[in-house]
Amino acid sequence: MSDDAENPCGPTPGTGKHDALTCQRLILECLLDYESGAMAEDERRQLDRHLAACPPCGQFLTSYRATGKTLQMLKPSDVPPALASAVVAFVRSRSRKP
């Protein structure tokens, strides 16, 4: 994101400095961007350092990734084969056209 004010993991606006990275900030505010790769290199390095030094956060990241992998298995539900013609017939029955 280009707007730092909208980026809780970026430097504090106007100071150019990062707030202290607590587990809370990492997990609640930064993890999505970290995982999606939408994070500046210096911010990423700051998170990497925390993760390497903090086993609970490392463990949390593992389970967050496993959740992402699980969610990737979800597929849109199968569409009933006759639905398109049923929709057209329904709309026709409720209106003169089409």
Binding site: Q24, C57, Y64, P76, S77, P80, L83, F90, K97
Partner: protein, 207 residues
């Protein structure tokens, strides 16, 4: 239109406005699957989702005159479809939803994650357990409050882009990201609960 060239959404919109029934049928062919799946995400029932899909296209047909052609058709129609599914959902007994804040990770007063972190690993190594977990995850998604459920469903199941989802729901990108992340944290928590190491939790409880 020259042969082999696919009509744009706007071509079809103009055709429907002009009373061209073939344009309407093409629009149904193009979007009925996605509208059905979106409706299914809200209603969790095939029959209701089919009826909501029919209603959404009826609304499309009746209200197409109000569609502003300078806007994206897709976002407008998805909003129509979502509202149609919600009005159907309101007509039946509502299912309970969870308070998402109760399932977010807890921190100490200094912002650190509790050292005694009772989660187990979520086993994603073999296909069968992954499939089983995915089915449980779908159930957990359905328990979420609608603001979170819609976002995670559109993103992770429908594979819609952040911009598309923010546009349909009329929310900002930061709001989209915050909801998606919280929804995933919820699913992570629930999956950890069913796969966590009971021995350790039991040992802590007995302490």
């Amino acid at each position: 239109m020259s042969e082999g060239q696919e009509k744009t959404d706007l071509d079809l919109v103009r055709g429907i406005k002009a009373g061209d029934s073939q344009a309407f049928e093409e629009m149904v062919q193009r979007y009925h699957g996605r509208v059905y799946s979106l409706s299914y995400g809200v209603l969790r029932n095939a029959e209701d989702a089919e009826e909501a899909t029919q209603d959404a296209f009826l609304t499309l047909y009746r209200k197409i005159g109000t569609f502003d052609e300078s806007k994206k058709f897709f976002s407008w129609f998805y909003r129509v479809a979502l509202n149609t599914a919600y009005s159907r959902a309101r007509r039946r007994p509502s299912l309970p939803t969870v308070a998402i804040e109760d399932y977010l990770p807890r921190f100490q007063s200094d912002g650190h994650l509790a050292a005694e972190f009772p989660d187990g690993g979520i086993p994603v190594d073999d296909e069968a357990s992954l499939r089983e977990l995915a089915s449980r995850a779908e159930g957990f998604i359905s328990e979420l409050p609608p603001a979170y459920r819609d976002v995670i469903w559109m993103n992770d199941v429908e594979q819609m882009s952040a911009t598309e989802i923010a546009d349909v729901l009329e929310i900002s990108i930061p709001a989209f990201k915050s909801r998606l992340h919280r929804a995933r944290l919820y699913v992570r928590q629930r999956l950890s609960e069913i796969t966590g190491p009971p021995a350790r939790v039991a040992a802590e409880a007995a302490r």
